[in-house]
Symmetry: C2
Subunit: 314 residues, 2 copies
């Protein structure tokens, strides 16, 4: 299996740079004094479609040949990846086919439809989603863009950490949430290439600890009945993400749901930015002392800011 290298992230960055936001890196004096270290938040909640996913999706769409582009891209997703792929496709004038479970939240259906994607609804099972996607692809010849188990997607996601380390020097630690591993694998590749001594730690909800078990085990443990408020982190590691994470990540830690909500509230209240629960997982790990940040300079990848304001945990 051909795995992406840092040179692929550099290529991706050159390709997508003019299409993405170079998101800001923010700090908070009050959070720093609370935890005793210097935290640098790379704010992908300010990325287009409100999540880092736009980086990988854009790289995948821009990497298509002209011939592939004519036939479009396809995915099944009810989350940020669907919106990201839809917008990335729209930006290149490429058709996007998105399979969504019929019970997906109205707001997500609207977002994806708003970017002009062709939506096919199916019953809300993984089997139905995959079957429906397969039918579409066989009919239209569209290229499937997996949300994380994809070479171009991983390369695109790695550009966030690359920007972070280009802007902030002498970072001791980089913390990153882990779900399917697209963000974490790309982040680890960038960090270890740019600053080999910087420690990379994946942060995961204890209620969806498949990456933790896989990392310390010798194969991918699937995510069975995950239960967490961090709805971006429910999925199992991808086959392409796993070996990259095994090789380049230093540790994976797990955190409680209480700590996630507390970390989310602290970031909202102190930094005045809206982040989704998944993005609060690294600070939760600091609050629960799973990671020691005393006197350290710590980069944190804030994955996104798409939350349902009608359904907040506080």
């Amino acid at each position: 299996m051909l795995l992406p290298q840092f040179s692929d992230i550099e290529k991706a960055h050159n390709l997508i740079r003019s299409h993405i936001h170079q998101t800001p890196v923010l700090s908070s004096i009050s959070i720093d004094s609370m935890v005793g270290g210097n935290l640098f938040f790379k704010c992908e909640n300010f990325q287009k479609v409100g999540a880092f996913k736009f980086r990988g999706a854009t790289n995948a769409v821009l990497s298509l040949t002209e011939e592939q582009a004519l036939q479009g891209v396809a995915t099944h997703s009810s989350g940020n990846h669907a919106a990201a792929l839809a917008l990335a496709a729209k930006n290149r004038g490429v058709r996007a086919y998105v399979v969504m479970p019929e019970n997906a939240p109205e707001i997500k259906k609207k977002a994806v439809a708003g970017y002009g994607a062709v939506i096919t609804f199916c019953t809300p099972t993984l089997e139905a989603r995959e079957t429906t996607l397969q039918q579409i692809v066989e009919k239209n010849g569209a290229t499937i863009v997996h949300p994380y188990n994809n070479f171009q997607v991983i390369s695109g996601q790695g550009t966030a950490a690359k920007e972070l380390l280009e802007e902030i020097k002498s970072v001791d630690l980089v913390l990153c949430p882990v779900g399917g591993g697209g963000l974490l694998s790309g982040t680890a590749l960038s960090v270890k290439a740019i600053s080999p001594k910087t420690v990379v730690i994946g942060c995961e909800p204890a209620g969806a600890d498949d990456a933790f078990r896989s990392f310390y085990g010798d194969h991918i443990y699937p995510s069975l009945q995950p239960k967490t408020i961090a709805d971006g982190l429910l999925t199992s590691l991808g086959e392409m993400n796993y070996p990259i994470i095994k090789k380049n990540v230093d540790a994976i830690v797990t955190v409680s749901e209480t700590a996630i909500v507390e970390a989310m509230r602290i970031i909202w209240e102190r930094m005045k930015i809206i982040i989704e629960p998944s993005s609060a997982v690294p600070l939760a790990a600091i609050l629960e002392k799973k990671v020691d940040v005393a006197q350290k300079r710590v980069g944190i990848i804030v994955s996104g800011g798409n939350v349902d304001l009608q359904n907040l945990p506080f």
Copy 2:
């Protein structure tokens, strides 16, 4: 009555510059396409203590003579001004006396106490607040720093618009919420000095339209039984603010509560930043077509981001 001029704002800026955050100016492509103009949000929600109030309070504290500083500063407030004055005083090593109504929200009591202010609680009437403050000042000789009817405070608040116009060129319109008028009077002084052709519009909830009535009348109408979610905008115009606003502001418009909540939601959802209801009033005015922004470059002063997450309007 000696009124501040733009030169006082320039002096204030030099004095406070190293103590305040130069807050970012943010834009949103999706909000721009929704309203048909280019909006530039000057984000004082990212200011220290989460509000522009820190500018004026800092200028007031740093403008004290050594002798005055020894005797401290005092105010009665349950809002952002109390926290701002407390932190500004702490930063200079000056004692701050804050009179708060005993029923003030716990979170605000904690914030002010956390900055080391000496808090005196009183019964929640304006009379009790003023009497208590008077007693403190007579006893301690502290300098009263009024939240908006104060020369140094107005001069400090004007620095936000000054920074905005130094960063963003060719602004056609500047929109600013109006409560007591500290922010609006300082903003108007800066805008008319830096860019005389730029139109300045004060934006006010219809449920607290005293500034609207005062502006189009010939004296200050007090704010009687104001009713609005924009809790920063309940107060009457100050005597020092009124003539500055009369002379330098081009119009005052009023907006509905529904539009304020809708504007607040749009900013939270699209920009991923936390703003308080008062800060949503200018966008509410655009949404309700009280201000025409078509093809225009529009500066908006976002006053603050202190909201009770337990008590959101959506």
